[in-house]
């Protein structure tokens, strides 16, 4: 069962819920940009981009604070139940994931500034090509799940969860290449560690995107799939009476 589109008798509830939803989507759009900007900043050692991430970080944080206030007000005044409650929980948990994503993007920006100060030379820049590749993939994944939330599209949510394999493959490939660089030239160790750290951060962002997708499935179906095996996520599972 998707979000209830029938208008509420008390129109202010629809208004308040709509505002809450929009705040989350705005935060999501910013978080998506942050991921891409952060990855590009690290890849290009670009302090300008890093500054932009820093500026957006504050903006995302401000939206997060507005969201908490809106969430509390909605729960206290309207006491939602059923699908309204599940969707509110979804948006609330999504906001938490987006805030974490924002922090990971900030770490990428910090890394870019550090490398700029350390004057990372050209020969080491290719170590960070995979950061850009993975950053693009993760940003796209995040964009997909946020669109799925906006549309209440449970199928796309399941597809995002199943895309986790692709991100893992990119990450594993990148880590193998870094290991190769290190074996060839141990002097690269500082940059390899930093690149690995950036990749790990992007993996965590992908995990948050998966978490958002699981929240969407809960909102639409009432099923908690956080501990279900990914291969079992299909129509039959979602329509079964129990989550096993």
């Amino acid at each position: 069962m998707a979000a209830n589109d029938t208008p509420h008798i008390f129109s202010r509830f629809d208004g308040d819920l709509g505002e809450f939803r929009q705040l989350v989507l705005d935060m999501g759009q910013l978080a998506c940009e942050q991921v891409l900007l952060g990855a590009r900043a690290v890849n290009n050692c670009d302090t300008g981009l890093a500054q932009e991430v820093r500026s957006n970080f504050r903006h995302v944080r401000d939206i997060d604070m507005d969201l908490l206030e809106s969430n509390v007000r909605l729960l206290a005044l309207h006491q939602p139940v059923a699908s309204d409650l599940r969707f509110m929980m979804m948006f609330s948990r999504t906001a938490y994931d987006l805030e974490r994503i924002n922090r990971e993007a900030m770490k990428l920006a910090d890394l870019a500034e550090l490398h700029s100060e350390s004057q990372r030379t050209r020969e080491y820049c290719e170590l960070f090509d995979d950061v850009m590749t993975m950053g693009t993939a993760v940003s796209e994944l995040l964009g997909r799940v946020l669109n799925a939330i906006a549309e209440g599209n449970i199928d796309e949510g399941i597809a995002v969860i199943n895309s986790q394999d692709q991100i893992e493959r990119i990450s594993q490939g990148a880590q193998r290449r870094l290991a190769t660089y290190l074996m060839q030239d141990p002097r690269t160790i500082k940059w390899v560690i930093d690149a690995s750290s950036a990749l790990k951060g992007l993996e965590r962002i992908a995990d948050h995107a998966t978490s958002i997708a699981m929240n969407l499935i809960f909102a639409c179906s009432g099923k908690d799939v956080r501990h279900a095996h990914v291969l079992n996520l299909n129509e039959d599972f979602l329509q079964s009476p129990t989550c096993s």
């Binding site: 069962m1 029938t6 208008p7 509420h8 008798i9 139940v81 059923a82 699908s83 599940r86």
Partner: protein, 293 residues
């Protein structure tokens, strides 16, 4: 129609301008509609099967089957005029007092058909007691309000036993400490919340098996309501309770199972948590989320 019939029809008809939002909400489901969820429980205290109620030509309850389990609180929710109170009144044959009301189907209490012609309704109404929306203490003292039922049913052999019944009932209703020093004062002198607890004490004084509550808190302030809800939770240990309520939050707080009625049909019944977090039928979802009613 006499005054009672008119009052009952008015109570059960759509009031307060509550207009369904969409065509689906206005559509009747028919007598062959199958209730969503499990209407049956193991070892029920009361079991109803195929219950139909008519007020003259008006078909008020349509083929409702529902079990009420032992020591459970089941709440009945639904928009005005959906038949919740009519169904509740079937469970202790209060509808017998309405000339134009016809009930058919099977209603059993501990396996015994309560509409059996040989059954005496007076003891039935002691076994299946009722608490009404508006507190209605007798114009008697607090003591006599409670003692009246046990006296006429011969439940006490002497004054000492009667005193014990009165005290126990008032303690169970959470009222003893507030009234023990003024038992000879009129029951009508109590506050609204106290009067309702007095009515509950009066009901439990005759050792019922089932207590029916028809919007017991709708005339009470929030504090009194909270005390009644707390009391319902305590009474569940010893009694089976069926409660009709307009407050979704109250139904969610006090009951283990919830039944949703719509235009005379029982649409859905299930675990209260499930009904209020993930209802199966769209009508239930729309009603509890406030899309119509």
């Amino acid at each position: 129609m006499n005054t009672i019939e008119t009052a009952v029809m008015d109570q059960d008809s759509t009031v307060n301008g509550a207009v369904p939002e969409t065509a689906d909400h206005k559509k009747e489901l028919g007598t062959d509609f199958e209730t969503v969820g499990n209407v049956r429980v193991a070892n029920p205290r009361m079991a109803t099967t195929g219950v139909n109620v008519y007020y003259g030509e008006k078909h008020a309850i349509k083929n409702v089957s529902l079990d009420i389990g032992k020591n459970e609180v089941i709440s009945m929710i639904g928009p005005s005029g959906c038949g919740k109170s009519t169904y509740l009144r079937c469970l202790n044959r209060m509808n017998d007092t309405i000339d134009i009301c016809k009930v058919n189907g099977e209603i059993k209490l501990d396996g015994q058909d309560i509409y059996d012609k040989k059954l005496d309704v007076v003891p039935l109404r002691a076994r299946v007691g009722m608490v009404f929306q508006k507190p209605n203490p007798f114009p008697k003292s607090i003591y006599d309000n409670i003692a009246y039922g046990p006296r006429i049913h011969g439940l006490a052999a002497n004054r000492s036993e009667l005193d014990e019944i009165v005290e126990t009932s008032l303690r169970k209703a959470g009222l003893w400490d507030e009234v023990k020093d003024r038992m000879d004062q009129p029951g009508t002198g109590l506050s609204g919340g106290q009067q309702q607890r007095l009515c509950i004490a009066r009901t439990i004084a005759v050792s019922p098996e089932v207590i029916l509550m028809d919007e017991p808190c709708s005339a009470l302030d929030p504090i009194a309501t909270a005390k009644i809800e707390e009391l319902i939770d305590e009474l569940r240990e010893n009694f089976t309770i069926a409660i009709v309520t307009h407050s979704m939050q109250q139904a969610a707080r006090v009951s283990q199972r919830t039944a949703y009625f719509h235009l005379g049909n029982l649409v859905e019944v299930g675990d209260t948590t499930q009904i209020f977090t993930n209802p199966s039928h769209k009508l239930t979802e729309d009603y509890i989320t406030g899309r119509f009613g």
